[in-house]
Symmetry: C3
Subunit: 159 residues, 3 copies
């Protein structure tokens, strides 16, 4: 059994600000040599969507969900002060000004650092999201896998 500290984060939220917070904690933990797993469920899955639409056959409701939900890390809104998309632009602007990593860069860094990104297969089924629509290099699992990791971890967050 590994001696590494373990950290798990469930990203349930599809808000830009919460996704940034989740990845900053995940990257920080990985830098401290924790074994980090992030589970993307419900709206959090939108963080992992590819930007250009991927053509897949879907039912009516799945199609609607796909159209209405933000496509990827660059399209997320804020949990507060979203102001029809002006808030996210302001946040991105100040982050750039302060040389803070953007969400797509934080995701890339997480993958480079070996943070395990896991898409919740049950939510994918429900919302009609296909593997082809999500970014490469991620894992797929259900609640059982999450619980297995969380029971071994010291830090477990739901964001």
């Amino acid at each position: 059994m590994s001696q590494k500290e373990k950290t798990t984060i469930v990203l349930f939220s599809g808000d830009l600000d919460k996704a940034i917070a989740a990845f900053i904690i995940a990257n920080g933990a990985a830098a401290y040599d924790h074994e980090v797993t992030m589970f993307f469920t419900f709206w959090g899955l939108n963080t992992l969507r590819k930007d250009p639409p991927v053509s897949v056959k879907k039912g009516f409701l799945e199609n609607m969900f796909g159209k209405m939900m933000p496509r990827g890390a660059k399209k997320l809104g804020l949990s507060k002060m979203n102001f029809a998309g002006i808030g996210p632009k302001m946040i991105k602007h100040v982050m750039k000004k302060h040389n803070a990593l953007s969400l797509p860069q934080l995701i890339e860094l997480a993958q480079e650092q070996g943070v395990k990104l896991v898409a919740c297969t049950m939510t994918m089924d429900l919302l009609g999201l296909r593997k082809e629509e999500l970014i490469d290099g991620i894992d797929y699992a259900g609640v059982a896998a999450y619980l297995g990791d969380a029971a071994d971890a010291k830090v477990n967050l739901f964001i």
Copy 2:
């Protein structure tokens, strides 16, 4: 002292999607033989309300809270894409289509599996909710009981 793994979940949110996520994790943990306690506080308490109005004498504000807050698991809205109640209908529709358990079924399953459902008595006082208005077979406690359980648990989530 019990050797069972322990899991606690605070359900603060009154959103349908978050309540579903909370109960899926709770039921999963119970299936893996964890001792699971869910604490319902603030808006999360609405998940435990009985559907038909229960006649109890209340003050003016308590009455207003009671009227404005959703009455039970079937009435909750979504944290995102609620669209005046269409979002919850869509989610319920796809869940049924995929044979996923509905929130009322998830609650029933949790009670069958021995998940301890605890209503926060302090919030009940504040919002003027009475025991008669909540579903049967639940416990009542305050923050001290929560902390006692959480300090023994490996997985503690705030949802």
Copy 3:
């Protein structure tokens, strides 16, 4: 190394109801002699702002953030049923009626009990918040300090 149980809470949210829940848990844990650390990040930092505006030189966006975000614990809105500020008044009214501590009182109690309140320096940079604008007696740190504390703690919540 200390034998005390440790508890950490990240307060990400700037909502009155979530801040109250966070401080009730923190004060409860401190009363049970846990070593408690609260990390205030993103909108959660607004909880720690001083009420009267503090005159500091800022750039345009920092100034706008400063103006648009609620100034301190007395100004926060609710995550649900905010109704343009009527919801918070109702909550404060019933809390007073039930002799529950208000958020400013909960913060004071936390400081008296030795709960460590830590402002996230990265968010302060991003949102342009200065130390002069935050209440006295708090600490300043980044994600590394949080992870150090969380890895030692039994209860870690993200609110």
